[in-house]
């Protein structure tokens, strides 16, 4: 009975959560990947 009284509030929370989740998924995510390869020998010149 108590839960029934708050059904609108519960619905609101669920709806807000779903909206936030959808919004988050479709929001662009920027990613930066920096790379190196064959890095051997790259230390300190002899002079």
């Amino acid at each position: 009975m108590g839960l029934y009284r708050y059904r609108y509030l519960l619905f609101l929370f669920v709806a807000l959560g779903l909206a936030a989740s959808l919004q988050g998924k479709s929001a662009p995510t920027d990613i930066l990947i920096q790379s190196t390869t064959d890095s051997y020998g790259e230390l300190a010149p002899c002079g």
Partner: protein, 381 residues
């Protein structure tokens, strides 16, 4: 690299960070990985060079770091269990990225006594099997490839589903970030002199757009002060260590060089001077005659990788071993350019550009010009 402010920033490497052999290379390789950790590397794959000091050295060296090592197609021959993690998943905002590694099946390394035998599985088959599994867990799949150029390109054709590929193993340099066969890819040259950077925009679990560039790590990029100090400290310690070893072994080393001098061998400038006094006098005023001092001034006078271009006949018959053992063979002398003294009568002892470039490499002498260089070392009338 690590200091760059970017919310979802990953630094990766496609393998081959270790030196070839010997104590110096081993120490340097360990320091290299320590430096990569301090620079903020996240995920790396391995190359065949990275086995040069043994499986355990490789595992122990990375165990001290926060770096993830991945390789999907190296397994223990007896159990077929993977030698390393095949892949790792990293979260980037709302997106998840899978990083996996592959080694070229044709690449070989020496299995040391007591080590378990490893086997390299077919890269294409491994990728085909793994990509659907990773796709379930990640929005973006990044391959750190140590397959070389041809096999790497072949893989993109035969194993679709890779989003980003970092080429490794002598793949040359491409100064652009490109998309080939729907795979965004980079080829970063070698020796960490270039940093390709890929910027991805992921929307709804898919790559919406990308751009990128290749940063050249030249003098325009200011050196990181902390890292610079660490490198200097490491190099100074290394030099001191070898200087001490040379001092301890001086007597024994001198005996060795005499024993090696039975056949053709180096003689040193004093012998040349007997007949070539005027040439010798001109030579002593030139840079070659003071080449060892540049190492001493930089505390590199016992560093094995530096010595060959600043002394006579390093570790060759009758040649330089160390300053305490063979002090008469420091500096670039007559025989560096003209060949061993005992071969003197042979024709063709006049040095050409091919001799000069063995030391005046692009890295050491980026502006080297043979004609201009010869003008500075004229020691003949």
């Amino acid at each position: 690299m690590g200091s760059l402010k970017f919310p979802n920033h990953f630094v990766v490497d496609a393998g081959d960070y270790f030196g070839l052999a010997g104590e110096q290379d081993s120490l340097k390789s360990g320091f290299m990985v320590e430096a990569m950790d301090r620079l903020g590397y996240d995920v790396v794959t391995i190359g065949e060079r990275d086995f040069n000091f043994g499986q355990q050295y490789l595992l122990d060296t990375f165990k001290k770091t926060k770096i993830d090592m991945v390789c999907a197609n190296i397994v223990y021959a007896d159990t077929k269990k993977p030698f390393l993690k095949p892949y790792v998943i990293r979260k980037a905002g709302n997106a998840r990225i899978a990083f996996f590694g592959l080694m070229g099946p044709q690449l070989k390394w020496r299995t040391r006594p007591g080590e378990r035998t490893l086997e390299i599985l077919d890269a294409v088959e491994t990728a085909k099997k793994l990509i659907p599994e990773m796709r379930k867990k990640a929005d973006v799949i990044v391959l750190l490839s140590h397959l070389g150029l041809t096999d790497g390109q072949k893989l993109t054709l035969e194993a679709p589903g890779i989003d980003v590929m970092v080429f490794g193993h002598m793949v040359g340099l491409s100064k652009q970030v490109v998309s080939t066969q729907n795979v965004i890819n980079v080829r970063g040259g070698e020796r960490g002199q270039y940093i390709p950077q890929i910027h991805l925009v992921v929307v709804d679990g898919k790559i919406d757009s990308f751009d990128g560039d290749v940063v050249t790590l030249d003098d325009k990029i200011p050196a990181d002060e902390v890292m610079g100090r660490l490198v200097d400290t490491f190099s100074d310690d290394l030099n001191r260590k070898f200087a001490q070893k040379n001092a301890d072994a001086a007597g024994q080393a001198a005996a060795t060089t005499q024993a090696n001098a039975a056949g053709d061998h180096f003689l040193g400038e004093k012998n040349c001077r007997r007949c070539h006094e005027s040439e010798y006098q001109m030579y002593t005023k030139q840079a070659h005659a003071h080449a060892f001092a540049t190492l001493e001034n930089n505390q590199r006078d016992a560093t094995p990788e530096c010595l060959p271009c600043h002394v006579v006949g390093m570790n060759q018959p009758g040649g330089f071993i160390s300053k305490p053992s063979t002090p008469e063979l420091v500096n670039v002398q007559c025989e560096n350019c003209h060949g061993m003294g005992t071969k003197h009568p042979e024709p063709g002892s006049i040095a050409g550009p091919d001799v000069c470039i063995t030391c005046h490499t692009h890295d050491q002498s980026p502006n080297f010009n043979y004609d201009e260089a010869v003008a500075k070392i004229v020691h003949w009338e």
